[in-house]
Symmetry: none
Subunit: 265 residues, 2 copies
């Protein structure tokens, strides 16, 4: 196997940065690494490997698990998988976010697992809801007090909704009062971003159409960046975050002037 050949190559590595690069390469190739195996391959103690993995995890490159680490590439995990992660925390975020709604409003629910929880948490009041997400539309099926508009087009199996020119054109005919924007990353300097170019293009048009943008983000997305920019922080009308967000991130967000809404514990 090619991976075997690559694993057995003499490391001849003395610099920690070389080790980091090697670990990142392995993570990208195989999706996961084992601490003990890395220690043997690289000829250092497991302590050093653990330190390396901790540092890589701190920068969001991987996620620390018992015995090693798994790659944190955002494309890892389809929508179905992601929709099972952190459900309780997302539901708490959603319960707070829906308080921003007023009866009679026209609200857009962008694709995303947090927004799926928001769809489930929508209160029983007259609302017009538009969405390009199939799971969200399915969750709203039967909630007959809502006028539901489905944005048609080609379904993207990664994001769980329609993307491309057809949905983009359809959104240009709408003027939602409120938009819950789905996102992969939020950073004060870099703003909101996603991992797919097509997704970002759609969201950019969406942001331009909506009266107010609301962003509900879990802790792990705060302070991270994604390859494709969607919006700047000044475009965000309200940022809903968890109660136990890291203090220094919370402080810098408050300092940046974004209107915050902190979810109940």
């Amino acid at each position: 196997m090619s991976t075997e050949a690559r694993k057995e190559r003499p490391p001849a590595i003395a610099l920690p940065s070389d080790r980091h690069q090697y670990i990142r390469q392995r993570l990208q190739q195989e999706g996961r690494v084992l601490a003990a195996e890395l220690a043997q391959t690289l000829g250092v103690s497991e302590d050093s490997i653990r330190r390396d993995l901790r540092e890589l995890a701190a920068t969001g490159i991987c996620q620390r698990v018992y015995g090693g680490a798994i790659a944190m590439t955002p494309n890892t995990g389809s929508f179905i998988e992601r929709s099972h992660e952190n459900v309780a925390r997302k539901a708490r975020l959603a319960a707070t976010a829906v308080r921003l709604l007023q009866p009679g409003q026209f609200v857009f629910l962008d694709a995303g697992t947090t927004n799926l929880e928001i769809a489930r948490a929508l209160p029983d009041m007259p609302l017009t809801v538009a969405t390009n997400s199939i799971p969200i539309a399915a969750a709203l099926f039967g909630r007959s007090q809502f006028e539901v508009l489905v944005i048609g087009g080609r379904m993207d199996h990664r994001v769980g909704g329609t993307l491309g020119s057809i949905p983009t054109l359809a959104v240009q005919d709408m003027r939602p009062d409120l938009c819950f924007l789905g996102t992969c990353s939020v950073d004060i300097e870099l703003g909101v971003g996603t991992t797919l170019a097509e997704e970002a293009a759609f969201k950019r048009v969406l942001v331009g159409q909506c009266n107010q943008i609301v962003l509900a983000v879990t802790n792990e997305k705060l302070g991270t960046a994604s390859p494709f920019a969607v919006a700047g922080m000044r475009d965000i009308g309200r940022l809903v975050i968890e109660a136990d967000a890291e203090p220094h991130k919370l402080a810098s967000l408050q300092h940046s002037g974004v209107p915050l809404l902190i979810a109940d514990q």
Copy 2:
């Protein structure tokens, strides 16, 4: 079988998170898992498997049952489909109907509970699938070998799909090879009909766009009429019926010249 090959693959699993991922994959593929079988396949005790399943159940990924666990489908939501007890019969109809498909075809799946079973029974071959039904789109979500086109518009909570001018206009740009038409009633004299005027209007346009119309109907719909006509019997390219259809209805259908396809018992 491919599932066999996947089951027998050497686990080479050292991390507990890998085990979780494997179980989730099996759940998604097969809908259910057995604790004893997992323990043997993964080379750990059943206690550990039970702990894993408990954790996965706690996060909502699966539901714990005696002997294993079954997959939860939170993204497809709580459908009212469970109220339809004819799922098994519809699934048999569907298994026969999908044999009409050829690789590479463009197929339209109209809204309807029988067509939902057809969506689930679609074989693994390259297909372009268009639908105005949200439950069907949700069922196809994740089947990444299909190019799925969702027909957008206002969602009708009674039929579970989009209806009105927007979907009708969207369908006029399509020329599907095959269309599985949803229906409320079929009669040799009166043809195909539905109970909603808007629904019938959409289906009439759809019928005009498609190269071949396939109708899969359960016994209780045969020989009944609905207020709004959709198509005549001569528009039907193939009629899929159950094996135990009433003999006199079957005879008159055969006499009428409609190409019949009788489902397996």
